[in-house]
Each structure stands twice: as C-alpha cells, then as structure tokens.
Symmetry: C2
Subunit: 468 residues, 2 copies
C-alpha cells in the first residue's frame, strides 16, 4: 500500500499539500483553544480532488477535517489528533454569474463572504448574510455551521438561503444537488440537513445561494431604551408597523458601550443621553416611494410617548449610519481588549429576552459577585451573545467559567431556547448538548452520523460523539 | 401475545379505533388513486397514545400510516397493505396561545390550517401558509409534505415556518423538540429533516410555528400579460421595486381561464382584454404610511410602457380582490370539471419559467397532438402546476399519461428544477425520483430511512423504497 502522504501529494500536486510549518496557520482555531498538528493540510483545486482526498484518507484511516475561513468559535474546523488531514477549501473560489430573474448564484465553497458581497454589488443584488467575520469566513464554513448573523430574523440562516448543494460524501462520492429552486420536495431535505452538520456528514464543495435585490433606500437610528423589556416591546411594535422594512434590529448594553469606548479611542458616541440598553434599528426598502425616514421617525415618536425610548437619533448620512453600526460591531473587540471574557451564544423566544438577561444576571452574580454582564445581539430572533467580563479590577473568573456556561445553557433550555444559537457545537459544546438535550434527540443524531459516515472519517469528535 | 386489535383498542378506547365501514372514509387518497383497506384507523387523543400505538404496531409487524387531512396529491397518507394501521391525528386539535412578542404559537398536529387562520385573526397575527386545501389540510400533514403554497416565495415553505417539533419516532419514543427559536444550531437540523419526510421517519404530533403580524393594507391587481416571458420579466421588476410588499404573484393561462369560466357559471372575468397569460399581483404592508396603490399602479404603468402588460385592473374593493383570487383558485376545479386531466408539480428557477412552459408544450404536442396545456402556479418561486387536458373533443390521453409525466420530469431536472416541487413523492412519484435523481442521492435517503426506521414500520413504500 502506498504511504498516505505520497498518495495525497499525488492527488493534490505540489500546491495542494502543506505540511510542517506551512501547515501551522491552519492548525489552531480562531480563539486559539483547539487544534493539534495534523498530518498535513490538503488544499484541493476542485471537487474531484476533494473526493479523491476523502477516499485516500478513508483508506488510510485518517480523519478528514473540513476547514473554511477558520473563523468558527467552537473549534469545529481543526484536528484533535495527528492522524488527521485538514481539507481547506481556500483554493476553490469560483463565483458563477448571478441570475437576477431567478434570484440565485452558484459559488464554490471557498468563496469568502465579503468577496461575494463585493461581486454582487454592481449587479444590484445582495446575499443577505452579514456577520463580523465576513472578511474571512467562507461559504462552505458558513453552510457547515448554518451561520445566522444580523439579518437572519428577516432572510433566515444559511439553511434558508441555500437552494442547492454539492457535497463530497464520507465515501468520497459526489452528490450533485446543485438545483436552483426553492421548492423541491422530491425526498428528504438533504440540502437542509447538510447546513449545520459541521462537516461531519460530508464536505460542502459548491452551493447555489438565494439572492435578493439591493434596497434603494435605508433609514437607521440609534436609540437609548429605558430597559431590556422596553427594547423587546419596541421590537414587537416595529414588526407590526414596519415589519417588511426591518433589516436590522440589534441591541447592546451600556457595559459593552463603555468597554468599546474605553478601548477604541476612534469610536464616537454622539447622543447626549446614556442608558442601560441601546437599539440599532435599520429599515430598508426597494421602493423609492416609501417615506422610510418618516416611518422610522414616527415609530421613535411612539416609543418616546410610551416611555420605551429615552433618546435617539436618525442617521443623517451614510457616515453616521456607519458610526452607529460600528458601535454595535465593535462590541466583541471592546470586550476582548478588556481582558478575559466568556462568550455564550444563547437564543430564547424574542419575547423572553429581557427575562433571560435579568435572570441570567442574577445567576451570574451568585456565581461570582460583581461579574460584568455584557449581552448584545439580534433582538429580532432572540439571539443573545451573553458575554461576561470579570468583576472590575479582577483579571479572571476564579476558575468558574464552566459554571457560568452550564447555568446559562440550562436557563436557555428551560425557556424554550438554545445554548448554541448560531455558532454550532463544534468540539466546545458537545458535553453541553449531552446535558441539555434529551437522549432521544442525541440518539437520532448519532444514528444520522452512523448512517452517513459509519467509519467515522468526517470531523470526528465534532457535533456528536460516537464510540470509535 | 395479545391480538393486536385488542391491544390497540385498549390503548385508544372506543372512540379511538375505527374498523370496517367506519374506517372507509380514511381508506382512499384525495384523488382516489391509492389505498387499500387497513386493519383499522387509530385516532389517538394525545401524544402518549400515538407512541403506544406505534409501539404496538411495531411489535405486531403492522405498518403505521400517518394521516392528516388526507388532501395530499401523491398518495402518501393511505395504506398499501391490509397489515397496516392508519394513524389519524384528527382528534389532536389543541391550539396554544399565540405569543405576539416572540411571533410563535404551539399547535397540535391535527389542527386544520383554516382553523389556525381563524383563531389568529382577532390577535392581529397570521400564519403565512395558504393553499387550496386549507379548509381540510392539517398541520401535521402540511409539515410531513413540507407544503408550500402561494406565499412560499416570501415566507418560505413549512420547513421555514416550523420552529419546533414534537415527534413520535418509529421506536415509539417521543422527541420533544418543541423549542420556539429560529436560531438553534445545537446539532443536526432534525426539525428541518422531519419537514417533507412524509411520515416515513416518525409522526409529527405537535409543532411550534412562526407567526407574522397581519398587514394593515393590501393592493391587488389582475393583469393580462403579453406572454410568459413578459410575466417573468415583470416579476423580476416587482421584486426589485416592491419586493418587500409582494404577498402574491400567481399566474394562470387562457386555457385555464376558459375552462374555469365554462364550468363555473358564477365566475366573472371583468377585464375587456383576454391574453395568453394572466398575473395576479398582491402587495401588502404593515404600515399605513405606504402608498401601496400608487406603488402598484406605477409598476403597472411601467409594465405597459415596456409592452409587458397588455391590460390590467387594480382591485377597488375587497369583493373585487376576492373575485381576482377566485379566478386563480378555481383553476384546478375548472380543469377537473372538463374531464380527464394530468397534474404535474414542477419547479424551475423562476427565470426559466417561460422556457419550461414553451419547451414543455412542444414536447407534449409531440406526444399527443392538440393536447391542451394549462399551466398555473407561483411565479415567485418557479412552481408550475403544469396540468394537461386532452385535445378538444377527446376524452383521454391515449394511454400516454406516463409519457407526459416522464418527459416533463426530465425537462425540469435538466433545467435545475424539480418534478416534485410542493406535493412530495408519496407513492406516486417514487419511480420518477429513481429515474431523475442520482444513485448517490437515493442512497443517502435510503440510509437515512434505515437509520431512523430500521424495521420499516413507518409509511412503507412512501418517499423511498427499501427492501422489506
């Protein structure tokens, strides 16, 4: 039998195989918590090479770890053993012609999200997926983790935006499911199943994505809300009065704003009032005939009359709109620069956001008094990045990180929500899933994994734990 | 061992078990093409009874056939053998309180769609699923077949509207996945997988559905288009200029209008011009400040200037709007009353609708000259109900029904679409799927079925064929 590295080199050519120091940039995850040195990194140039690599690895008993932009937060795209090959899709970056009449486009798995945005702009089309990592995250990884982001409440998550898929299966076969229609009920919804499967059932090599026309006008406002309950009530009002225009409904706290302003000196907060909670509201319309500013101003007025909105400003320019968004987008960076932090990716029914944040704060304060709660996220779909910083003047969490994570996961579960809203399970949250999800659910998932990948070749140890 | 009927009677009580003539109303499918007399019909009162029935059937080697409103068009909800029990969910009809802040509601699988619509109306909320059978179709069946309908292009199919599910598995276990959040990436997307599984992986017993606020105003128009290509171009224009308002974009042909007017004497067509193609456009908005009529009128004007729209009328009252919609909704009934017919549930990328209809017409005319093509459906998602009537003066298809179906399925497949867009495969289209989908795809589906239902208890012979 040929030595596996020789076989892989032969399949991939000199540009397609990295080992030693060349492989190091692929080794660790984004948060530098997971990843050991793999046998090497395969960088296939096309689907046939992906399939050949999977076959060769399977034959040699090597684990296959698909990797996109490696921006995931749960360690799902790096190796847990030396007998593994990372398959990076970074050389497969072809983008097809957008089809404006059908609202779709075919792209390779290695396309960077921001590159797709840029490519579409002159066509007057958009792919409505926006998240912090869009400058590095690749389509295949976004599909594998079923990414959500700030517009998911309106346009859906990746699973709602994927029309068709091409997959290399754990057998090294190629499934051509590159259809370009929303309605396809000819059997099980495989295209949905592969979204969020984190590379454990196969490798996404290509996709047909749904596109939308770019809006012709926008109206944005930054609001100071009286409290989280007020933010929820105002969100409900907006969905009723301006629901079809809602393109952004993001919240952050004064804890987060304080940290961002402290650590990012070029960041500006231009309102006169501060409060506990801030809401970034963005409306967008494809019609030039809609009085969008007036609709937003009128909603603000209602919110002020009701005592929900304390202060607010409509963006009067694109520059000001960008400033408002930066306040929200720099929340993770501000907190990171403050030092140690805990990230929790929670979702609850949107009506329960305030209750979760308040109950969660009590629980956290019981675990470590004075701990700083810094929740921010997506009001429209109840997705709370419930981050925590140590008490003022303290550098760590007194070894209690796991206690916070478990208590908040249990609370989200109890409230009909999720402890893994948009980041997935990866390696980081498998044990948490085992504790918070029923044995029936875990059993169904184990059977799925066993049916598609009986040898356990694909991303072992990620999403679901199977006896090896 | 207890006789299975005795065991089932004991589980279900006297109201819960039907046999003999009492079971007959459940025996045949909607189009009266499928169904043999089962051992009996179980009508469980709750999830525990469903689970007990599944366990008892499994132990006795009986097939379990889940049935909702039995309005499916592919024969997926009736028995193919005497050793089967139909499980009708028709007694499980509880509807929970709607949650306007979270935009969700929990309902039993047996709830009739129209009953849910009626219940929500006074709350100012809507469940955006509309289809011809809504007066009989039940939520569980709609989930099992992943129903689409006329608003799918905007709000999605059932898989996009289901937040959480409760399932009785083929083992008779209960999976409580009744979470109420859009973002839940804690493992494989089981909730999506059960949508469209046609009861072959388990029985849907309860669901959490997504709700939207009811719009405050609507504007509707009936348009005569110069041809199908014009309808497609106009649809693209509308998505760009009024996309966020689009709540209906339905088309039908002059063949269909002629049949409907012929057979339904109370139906009125009030425009002066006739054409080959008609478009029903509906805009809706949650904001009273949007000049919706003006936006629609302006789009019409553009369409006329471009030569796409030949004639058109805006509905000036709710009564006229209802008349416009009836013209579209009576398409199936008009054709049914004409006599023999063939139904084909096609989807293609929306930009390819005109090409499909025209190429399909040539193919059909080659098979049986003079055959009447009557396509109608959903322009926004490319879903064409490509129905066919025999040539004028002829009562049948000369034994060529299968040839039409196969030729049109092949054409849809070739064009990146589906031959089972929103009705599913059921028993009717399994062979078609075997011919039009790759062996890799069929193999993945067979593995899925085998993993969830190794004994083949659930709805055998539906969706996927497994050696028994």
């Amino acid at each position: 039998m040929t030595d596996p590295v020789t076989a892989l080199r032969e399949i991939l050519g000199p540009k397609g195989w990295l080992s030693g120091t060349d492989a190091e940039p692929y080794q660790r995850d984004w948060l530098n918590r997971y990843g050991v040195a793999p046998l090497g990194v395969a960088r296939p140039a096309n689907t046939a090479e992906v399939a050949a690599v999977v076959k060769a690895c399977r034959m040699a008993g090597l684990a296959v770890i698909p990797q996109g932009g490696n921006t995931g937060l749960c360690g799902g795209a790096v190796a847990d053993r030396a007998s593994a090959v990372i398959v990076s899709l970074s050389r497969m970056t072809a983008i097809g012609e957008p089809d404006p009449e059908s609202g779709s486009i075919a792209v390779d798995a290695g396309v960077v999200l921001a590159a797709l945005h840029d490519m579409l702009e002159p066509h007057g089309l958009m792919f409505p997926m926006h998240l912090g990592a869009e400058g590095s995250a690749r389509i295949g990884g976004l599909i594998g983790t079923n990414a959500g982001g700030s517009q998911a409440f309106r346009y859906g998550m990746m699973q709602d935006l994927v029309l068709g898929l091409e997959i290399v299966t754990p057998d090294g076969a190629m499934w051509d499911g590159l259809r370009a229609v929303q309605k396809d009920n000819a059997g099980y919804q495989l295209r949905k199943l592969f979204c969020g499967a984190e590379g454990t059932l196969g490798i996404v090599t290509r996709a047909v994505l749904r596109l939308y026309p770019t809006p012709k006008q926008q109206a944005s406002a930054l609001l100071v809300m009286s409290d989280f309950a007020a933010a929820v009530s105002f969100g409900t009002y907006l969905r009723g009065e301006a629901g079809e225009f809602l393109a952004g409904l993001e919240f952050f706290s004064d804890v987060g704003l304080t940290l961002a302003l402290k650590h990012l000196p070029d960041l500006a907060y231009q309102l006169e009032t501060r409060g506990d909670v801030y809401l970034l509201v963005e409306l967008a319309s494809g019609s030039a005939r809609v009085p969008l500013d007036e609709i937003l101003a009128s909603a603000l007025e209602w919110g002020m009359e009701e005592g929900l909105v304390v202060d607010g400003a409509l963006a009067n320019s694109g520059a000001q709109r960008a400033q408002f968004w930066r306040l929200r987008e720099e929340q993770p960076e501000g907190q990171r620069l403050e030092g140690e932090q805990l990230k929790h990716d929670i979702s609850v029914p949107p009506g329960a956001i305030a209750r979760f944040i308040e109950t969660g704060a009590e629980i956290c304060d019981d675990i470590l008094p004075g701990v700083r709660i810094n929740p921010f996220g997506h009001l429209g779909d109840g997705n709370i990045h419930y981050n925590v910083s140590p008490p003022e003047g303290r550098a760590d969490f007194d070894g209690k990180a796991g206690q916070f994570a478990e208590a908040l996961a249990a609370l989200a579960t109890e409230m009909g929500g999720s402890f893994a809203a948009e980041h997935g399970l990866g390696r980081a949250k498998i044990a948490m899933a085992e504790r918070n999800r029923s044995s029936v659910e875990r059993e169904l998932m184990a059977r799925l994994k066993g049916a598609f990948d009986p040898q356990g070749t694909m991303n072992p140890g990620v999403l679901v734990r199977i006896a090896e």
